[in-house]
């Protein structure tokens, strides 16, 4: 008997000898396809504007910075300003995301824009969040040709574009959005709540352990455009 059969056999045996009451295969299939919500905190529920305010407050509690923009045309300017404010060179690795294709980068000749996955030498990246969760100020990003995962982790400075229309109250709503996009999970879904940190040395909290030292969120008012 191989290890798989051995383990599953042991499990079956233990369950049979126990007082636990198993469900039928049908019940389990139904539970999986229903994927019902459990308790969902009320905290994130409300109007889009209230959710945006909560999202900002929660993200800033965990050391992210945020900025609200009126439209995509302000993105280039905001990125430049952000880089300058941290004395960073005017260059950014940008996700090859359709939304960012709408940004007219040529208006900012001092900004060096490259597209693709992140390399170790990249100091700043710009990616697009699939959703923002107001409950805890969490960004939901996922992998795909338009959004390489390395952008979220390698560069020291991570700038994320979040269309305000993509703000939801709870994580469960973000799962529904992803299920609507495709019936298979992407390789990676990242929930990001603030910049990287560690308290492993003397319980002193320090930002920028292995991932980004800074997380800057650009919330775009896209009500006009969507």
């Amino acid at each position: 008997m191989g290890p798989r059969e051995l383990i599953l056999g042991n499990i079956a045996k233990s369950l049979k000898e126990s007082a636990l009451s198993p469900s039928s295969r049908q019940e389990i299939e139904t539970r999986l396809s229903a994927h019902a919500n459990n308790t969902v905190p009320r905290r994130g529920q409300g109007e889009n504007e209230a959710q945006t305010a909560l999202f900002i407050a929660e993200a800033e509690r965990v050391n992210a910075t945020t900025e609200r923009l009126d439209g995509l045309e302000q993105v280039g300017e905001a990125v430049l300003r952000y880089l300058a404010s941290h004395n960073l060179p005017g260059s950014v690795k940008v996700a090859p995301h359709p939304l960012l294709e709408n940004v007219d980068w040529s208006k900012h000749p001092t900004l060096d824009v490259a597209r693709g996955r992140a390399e170790d030498s990249d100091q700043a990246s710009l990616s697009v969040a699939r959703a923002g969760v107001a409950e805890t100020g969490t960004l939901v990003l996922h992998s795909g040709p338009e959004c390489p995962t390395t952008l979220n982790f390698l560069p020291d400075n991570h700038i994320v574009l979040l269309p305000q229309s993509q703000l939801v109250g709870a994580y469960e709503e973000a799962w529904e959005m992803l299920r609507g996009d495709s019936n298979a999970m992407p390789r990676t879904v990242n929930w990001v709540t603030g910049p990287s940190r560690s308290a492993d040395i003397e319980q002193t909290l320090l930002l920028g352990a292995h991932g980004p030292r800074r997380l800057h969120i650009l919330i775009i008012n896209d009500k006009k455009t969507t």
Binding site: T138, E172, I201, H210
Partner: protein
């Protein structure tokens, strides 16, 4: 890793005498628990979420075989592989095999308690593959060849000076006169060292906080982002999971994540919660080409449905350690193996044998705090007591204590003997204890070593009551 659990008492004494450790533990007592309370206060649904989390796991465990099969099918569907391992040796061999298949020289690792449990680092190293821990705390203790002293803060027992010394000894290519005085400079140095290793690694190994049957997904939870670099940059990603980690759906996993960080560090959510499903898709610009899951049993299938069943709900959050008076007095190394605190005292005897480890379940005041804070509502004291019953039946532990207890119980079961003998005893003690207390007393050395013993008033309550005193 060689277990030193049988030296629990001397380990504990060492911990109590270690001033640096004591400073760290006192900081811990005022850190995580306070933040946990604050996080709970902000979330009125917290108790309801705990109930949900417990129920999700209980449902899954009652159907464990089915959920594992569904999970496995989903992993395969997404292009990954699942390897089943009955024990630590199996798991190590499988992992080495995967590393050899891709000619791996170095392997980066995200933090994983299961990898500590199976001691895979040692095994890889002995077989020519260099494992590199990337969680800051794990990296430090790997350099020092120490086991973790806390399940989520593995280097909590070390001072920054000790870390600096370790770095100077290990990072010999760096300038000798460099400043390593502050946690910040130490972190920067580790970050710099590990960055190169992340990029050079051939394989990345992570643990899994949970795996999801619905989608074939594995989850890691970190604050540093090390786990993500570990599992994104190398060509091969290996996940070490154990059979009890499965949950049905994304929603179920979400519920458990809501209680995990709050119970652990008091964060509302850890910085990075990462859900991985299969290898990179052909059109993706990054991500691993191979995705392997090693599904470990190591005694868990036998725990199912038995007296230690509830322990299978454990999500390794560390709340029970952070609130345990014994853990906070002695630190994690006293437990002598990779787990510690109440959860360790329940798990270790099962994994290492009770004969050598009976002091772990023995050393509890049964104050109940662990069960009170456990997000999964695991009855830890009840299980510690189960171990004590087994130890008592097997006649493990000090014969003096057993004899004393047996003598006491013999009398207490026979009130007509008990009364006069006790009355005589307390009268005598009161006579010699006229100062009101004893600072030493024959046979009471365990007590009087660290505190005085108050003398009895002299006559028992029952005899006075019988004589009519009110």
């Amino acid at each position: 890793m060689q277990s030193t659990s049988r030296h629990f008492n001397s380990n504990a004494r060492k911990g109590i005498a270690d001033a640096k450790l004591q400073a760290a533990l006192s900081k811990l007592s005022h850190g995580f628990p306070v933040k946990r309370l604050a996080a709970m206060a902000r979330l009125p649904e917290f108790e309801a979420l705990r109930d949900d989390a417990r129920d999700i796991k209980e449902h899954t465990l009652a159907n464990l075989g089915t959920y594992l099969e569904i999970y496995e099918a989903k992993v395969l569907e997404s292009g990954g592989h699942v390897h089943w391992a009955t024990d630590a040796a199996d798991a190590c061999e499988i992992i080495l095999g995967i590393c050899r298949d891709v000619d791996a020289k170095t392997v980066t690792k995200g933090k994983s308690m299961i990898s500590e449990e199976i001691a895979v680092n040692e095994y890889l190293e002995n077989n020519g593959v260099q494992p590199i821990e990337t969680d800051l705390g794990e990296y430090i203790i790997q350099l020092r060849h120490e086991p973790p002293s806390h399940i989520i803060a593995p280097a909590i027992h070390l001072s920054k000076e000790q870390v600096a010394e370790t770095f100077r000894g290990e990072h010999r290519h760096l300038q000798t006169g460099r400043n390593l005085d502050e946690p910040r400079t130490l972190l920067e140095e580790a970050r710099g060292e590990l960055r190169r290793k992340f990029i050079a690694a051939d394989v990345g190994i992570t643990g899994a906080n949970m795996v999801i049957a619905e989608t074939g997904t594995s989850i890691i939870v970190t604050n540093e982002g090390n786990g993500d670099l570990t599992q994104t940059l190398p060509k091969t990603h290996i996940v070490i999971a154990s059979i009890e980690k499965v949950v049905p759906t994304l929603e179920d996993a979400t519920t458990i994540l809501r209680v995990l960080a709050r119970s652990a560090t008091g964060q509302e959510m850890s910085v990075y919660n990462t859900f991985s499903t299969g290898p990179k898709r052909p059109e993706d610009l990054d991500g691993p080409e191979n995705y392997h899951v090693v599904m470990l049993d190591n005694g868990r299938s036998k725990m199912l449905g038995g007296e230690f069943h509830d322990m299978l709900r454990c999500i390794r959050c560390s709340a029970c350690l952070n609130h345990c008076p014994v853990y906070k007095a002695i630190g994690g190394h006293a437990y002598g193996w990779v787990y510690s605190g109440p959860m360790g005292a329940v798990l270790i005897p099962g994994l290492q044998g009770l004969a050598e480890t009976h002091d772990l379940p023995g050393a509890s005041t049964f104050c109940g705090k662990c069960e009170d804070v456990c997000p999964m509502r695991i009855p830890l004291p009840r299980m510690l007591r189960s171990w004590r019953e087994k130890a008592y039946a097997a006649r493990l532990g000090s014969t003096k204590a057993r004899f004393g207890l047996a003598a006491w119980a013999f009398l207490a079961r026979r009130p007509s003997f008990y009364r006069p003998i006790m009355a005589f005893g307390v009268g005598l003690l009161a006579l010699i204890g006229r100062r009101g207390r004893f600072s030493t007393l024959p046979l009471a050395g365990g007590w009087t070593a660290s505190r005085d013993l108050s003398a009895p008033e002299g006559t028992t309550f029952l005899s006075q009551w019988k004589r009519g005193k009110r």
